[in-house]
């Protein structure tokens, strides 16, 4: 299962933090810093996977943003790697060429996108068409 999802920029600023297990605030902050430290030192020749405590991080970089998913060591690496990309394509469509600022100003909407695609640490919906249709419907509500 997914333990947490993080979107961070290169400077280490968090653009999204979604937790699927209980951590206290100090622990969350520590995890955020650790993830940033292990992910940013890696280059394109490295894998998209890093062992992390007793879990592993699957991550992918898009421009200046790192999308990181922390999962159990037995989970399927490539499935989560593509889940990241699927998520990014939805964000891109929803925000029309998404950029970092969209995530800052619309942080509360990003959570809605996440909840449509991932819930309780599991993949909830994978169809981009279905997710976007639902998001547009919600967008039209007052």
């Amino acid at each position: 299962m997914i333990r947490f999802i993080l979107i961070q920029n290169r400077a280490g600023k968090t653009r999204l933090a979604k937790w699927y297990m209980q951590f206290d605030d100090d622990e969350k902050q520590k995890l955020i810093e650790e993830v940033h430290a292990v992910v940013t030192v890696r280059d394109a020749k490295h894998t998209n996977f890093v062992e992390f405590r007793s879990f592993k991080i699957i991550y992918r970089r898009y421009a200046g943003l790192y999308f990181c998913i922390c999962v159990d060591v037995t989970d399927n690496n490539l499935a989560y790697l593509e889940a990241i990309h699927n998520f990014v394509e939805v964000l891109n469509e929803y925000f029309h060429n998404v950029c970092e600022l969209d995530l800052v100003f619309n942080f509360y909407k990003v959570y809605t996108v996440v909840d449509e695609m991932f819930l309780a640490g599991e993949i909830r919906e994978t169809s981009q068409t279905k997710v976007l249709k639902q998001l547009l419907m919600l967008q039209s509500l007052d």
Binding site: E82, F95, R124
Partner: protein
């Protein structure tokens, strides 16, 4: 079409975020935030009622401030108000605030649950989803209590919308994970399984996760899911890439769902029904075939999602481990990936092949890739890929390729990353031992290890080489010669000196005939390095010297001179000084016969599982290390023979040797320093011996600390254990037959504890159940870690469970075992009764087995109040005016276990003059009377 433009919705929020972004300094940001907080506070407190929009905007601002890392101590009420709004946008912000800032404020939880309840029953799918997402995100016990019964109904109801079903399935999964006891498997389960047939693939995707988790815990109830999952999978993999429309991702049909279905199937053995089994084999073959087809797209997304399914299919093939053709095909496919230009694929292929190596069907096929893997070790840029290559070499090693693999690993060790050196050292040591046909090769390999990576050679490794040399007389002469030669190097690692000192002290005589290694030359060689060594090594060398006196009487006076020198006799280190004094004295007064007996060659060690293997297993964690021998079912005659799962990695520091110490050097320093040959005899035996008569899996061999145990019989809180590194505190509460114990592990050092793990063993689970979640693997310096143990008393029990704690501190593994103060009396409920009732029952329990009496001397002052407190703390009601003699104490209570209840009456009669007590206990069960008497009599 863009769905949102920047900052639409709440202008005030966008302005505020812009302001924050424009702040030049942290101080400016804090100032701006404080201004905003003051503004919001005044709005919330103002007389004018805020409209929904403003409330939403301010709550959203508060959320933003919280996410920036600032504390928020108000606004919760306003957020809860938003939940009951009729507008989606307001509700959404309310729920988001609640999900992010979970607050266990009990008043609010009630209000929140009320709002959720309303939304759940609203029949408005948007609102239902918002509330389900909130439950899934928070997942608290209170929410589970309130909604766990209702959600299954929503999930299986015929008229529930598809998107609500998806949310309900995963919401239920979350509640099942956090509070499984509140989600009873019921009549809804069979209907949940049928969701695998649902038309909506999104519903199937969500439901498969739920079913997989439930099936892991209740395999029998969910057996029917196998045939449904196979049917579904078959329809997906045989579909044309356009059939699934929305669910086709870069020409791959439903990749995530396929992966989930393949994982569900890994909860079960291969299907017994031939038709289902055939269909599944077809699916797996189709997936393997597709890997060979030309790609439908050059995009990485296409190959990644296709390979995600492929790797999961291979996992299932390995899990079943029953179809040789599939296993070999899987191996060939992974072999292709080993040379792929994508680093990800090379990494995953190495990882997956590692498990394939342990199957007897594919072991040989895996071995054919040895050259590629060795090459990976030399050329991969990513250390994690090299690490996987080492793992795979270790897994594919057998007698036929051991020499090559060990040589390559040694080769790699010279340049290996520091982070993985210790592990490679352990692996080399294990392989060299396991596949040694020729023990000279083994000795050479270990000495090479010490030469190349001496710092990473742990005690276990060098103890082990000594153990093997002592047990095999065909290699002793060679070992003596080899260490002697290795010691010629101008600079050699201290570990080499330890091994060299020990071996020459035992077997130096075997090479003393050669004038180039005469006794005096051997002694001078060792002694030339003596002064550069640490205290433990010097202590070990002193023992070598006394052994030399026995082996080589001709250099006795030379050695005595050294022992007599001021630097030994007056050494500041008490251990060294004592050894020098005692060894010198021994060599002067003992006759040759006595000396020969005392300093005789070490007897062979009992044979058992290698302690290094245990160490490696611990390092990698269970499951991560493929068992290189057993699962392949080819038993080699290895030196150690035994494969019983005895954990021999006892920590010497925590385990003082028994007093069979040869020379009675019982000083504390002996326990702390590395063992010298003569005195360490007992220590080495201790390290490697199975001195626990009941081999509990995972149990440790060292002594179990129980100094503070009896203090907890009559109280529930306090410090249970403390040494220089760790303090363990306890807080516990018991009710009826259940208990909860909060264990606090305090790291007293300034350094991290790594690989921290705990386990509880001891009392048979039919008597006592102790459940706990795995502890966090790291404990920071100065930090405290809390763990909760849930305890259930099933029936009466004698032995208290033992808490086993392991962690790495600095370079060494620490292992501590403490007796947990879970005693039978904890499950007492006090019973008040009158004098008449008491004596009536007392008489009913009059058979000899039911009564236990003990007369004992008082250990503490016989203070009345203290005694009363202890009896009440023991758990019984203290009954006044029952006993005709007012100085006697009388108590009554009922022990609650899951299976039964045992009434108990007790009477304590002090005799202050004689400083004695008489304790009498009567219960309906003799074992209970016995145990309670033992526990209580120890308290006064």
């Amino acid at each position: 079409m863009p769905a949102v433009s920047k900052g639409d919705g709440m202008r005030g929020l966008a302005v505020f975020i812009s302001d924050i972004r424009n702040c030049k300094s942290k101080e400016a940001e804090i100032k701006r935030i404080n201004k905003e907080l003051a503004n919001i506070r005044s709005k919330f407190k103002g007389d004018k009622a805020l409209d929904g929009y403003s409330k939403k905007k301010y709550v959203c601002k508060l959320l933003f401030i919280f996410l920036l890392g600032h504390d928020i101590d108000f606004g919760h009420m306003e957020a809860v108000n938003l939940l009951s709004s009729n507008k989606y946008t307001e509700k959404q912000i309310g729920y988001l605030f609640i999900s992010v800032l979970v607050n266990s404020n009990s008043d609010l939880i009630r209000l929140i649950n009320n709002a959720i309840k309303n939304d759940l029953s609203s029949r408005n799918p948007t609102f239902m989803n918002l509330s389900l997402h909130c439950i899934a995100n928070v997942g608290s016990r209170e929410m589970a209590e309130a909604f766990a019964a209702e959600i299954p109904h929503i999930l299986v109801a015929g008229d529930t919308m598809d998107s609500v079903k998806q949310s309900a399935a995963l919401c239920l999964l979350r509640l099942y994970r956090t509070s499984p006891d509140l989600v009873p498997v019921g009549e809804w389960t069979s209907r949940v399984v049928h969701l695998l047939n649902d038309q909506h693939l999104g519903v199937v995707t969500a439901a498969t996760s739920l079913i997989t988790t439930l099936a892991q815990k209740n395999p029998d109830e969910f057996k029917t899911s196998v045939s449904l999952a196979v049917a579904r999978l078959s329809r997906i993999v045989t579909s044309a890439s356009t059939d699934l429309q929305d669910y086709t991702y870069y020409f791959v049909p439903a990749p995530w769902l396929s992966v989930k279905l393949l994982r569900l199937l890994q909860c079960y053995p291969p299907p017994e029904d031939a038709a289902i089994r055939g269909r599944l084999t077809e699916c797996l073959e189709t997936i393997l075939n597709k890997a060979q087809e030309p790609p439908k797209s050059k995009k990485i997304q296409h190959s990644n999602s296709k390979n995600a399914v492929l790797f999961e299919a291979i996992s299932l093939i390995i899990h079943h481990d029953s179809e040789p053709t599939l296993l070999v095909r899987a191996c060939n496919q992974l072999g292709q990936f080993l040379q792929h230009r994508e680093t990800n694929l090379r990494y995953l292929a190495l990882e997956s092949m590692c498990t394939l190596a342990s199957s007897e069907f594919s072991h040989e096929a895996v071995k054919t890739h040895i050259e590629t893997v060795i090459n990976a070790l030399k050329t991969e840029r990513d250390v994690s890929v090299r690490q996987r290559a080492v793992d795979l070499l270790y897994a594919m090693c057998d007698r036929s390729n051991a020499q090559q693999i060990v040589a390559e690993m040694l080769n790699y060790l010279e340049t290996a990353d520091y982070s993985i050196r210790e592990e490679i050292v352990l692996k080399v040591a294990i392989l060299a031992e396991k596949y040694a046909v020729d023990y000279t090769w083994y000795v050479d390999t270990i000495l090479n290890l010490i030469r190349i990576a001496g710092d990473y050679v742990s005690e276990e490794v060098w103890y082990r080489v000594i153990q093997i040399v002592i047990n095999r007389d065909d290699v002793q002469g060679y070992a003596a010669k080899t260490v002697f030669e290795a010691l010629q190097a101008p600079a050699c690692h201290e570990n080499l000196l330890k091994v060299g000192g020990y071996i020459l002290g035992e077997f130096g005589n075997l090479i003393a005939g050669d004038p180039r290694s005469s006794p005096l030359i051997q002694f001078n060689l060792l002694h030339s390095k003596f002064h550069l060594c640490s205290v433990p090594t010097r202590a070990l060398l002193l023992s070598t010297y006394i052994k030399f006196i026995n082996l080589f009487p001709e250099i006795k006076t030379t050695i005595q001179d050294v022992l007599r020198s001021d630097s030994q006799m007056k050494n500041a280190d008490v251990e060294l000084q004592q050894r020098a004094v005692e060894y010198l004295r021994l060599s002067c007064i003992a006759s040759t016969d006595i000396l020969a007996t005392v300093l005789e060659e070490m007897p062979p060690f009992p044979e058992r599982e290698s302690s290094i293997l245990a160490k490696l297993k611990k390092k990698k964690g269970p499951g991560k290390l493929p068992d290189i021998e057993d699962s392949r079912k080819e038993k080699h005659a290895n030196i150690n023979g035994g494969t019983e799962p005895v954990n021999t990695t006892t920590n010497i520091k925590a385990a003082p040797p028994p007093s069979s110490d040869l020379l009675s050097l019982g000083s504390p320093a002996t326990q702390n320093s590395a063992p010298p040959p003569a005195t360490a005899g007992s220590l080495l035996v201790d390290v490697f011996s199975e001195n626990n008569s009941t081999p509990t899996p995972g149990a440790q061999l060292g002594p179990v600390a129980d100094e503070n145990f009896s203090r907890f019989v009559c109280k529930n809180n306090g410090v249970l254990f403390e040494n220089q590194l760790l303090q363990i505190g306890l807080k516990s509460e018991f009710r009826q037959n259940l208990g909860r114990m909060y264990v606090f592990y305090g790291n007293k050092t300034s350094t991290q504890f790594l690989n921290f793990s705990t386990s509880v063993y001891g009392a048979p689970p039919i008597n006592l159940n102790v459940h706990t979640k795995p502890a966090d693997p790291t404990v920071e310096g100065g930090a405290q870690l809390q763990q909760i143990l849930n305890i259930e008393c099933v029936s009466d029990f004698m032995e208290a469970p033992v808490l086993n704690i392991q962690f790495r501190y600095g370079g060494t593994l620490q292992s501590i075992a403490v007796k947990l103060p879970v005693t039978l009396n904890k499950f007492f409920q006090p019973t008040e009764m009158t004098s008449q009732e008491f004596f009536q029952r007392w008489k009913q329990l009059s058979t000899p087995e039911q009564e236990v009496q003990k007369i004992f001397k008082a250990k503490h002052s016989m203070d009345t109040e203290v005694t009363k407190a202890k009896i009440i703390g023991f758990g019984v009601a203290l009954l006044d005016q029952v006993d005709p003699n007012p100085s006697n104490y009388v108590g009554a209570g009922v022990i609650h276990t899951k299976t039964t209840q045992v009434g108990c009456l007790l009477r304590l009669e002090p005799n202050t003059q004689a400083q004695m007590y008489r304790l009498t206990l009567r219960t309906s069960r003799d074992t209970v009377s016995q145990r309670l008497c033992e526990l209580l009599s120890d308290q006064f």
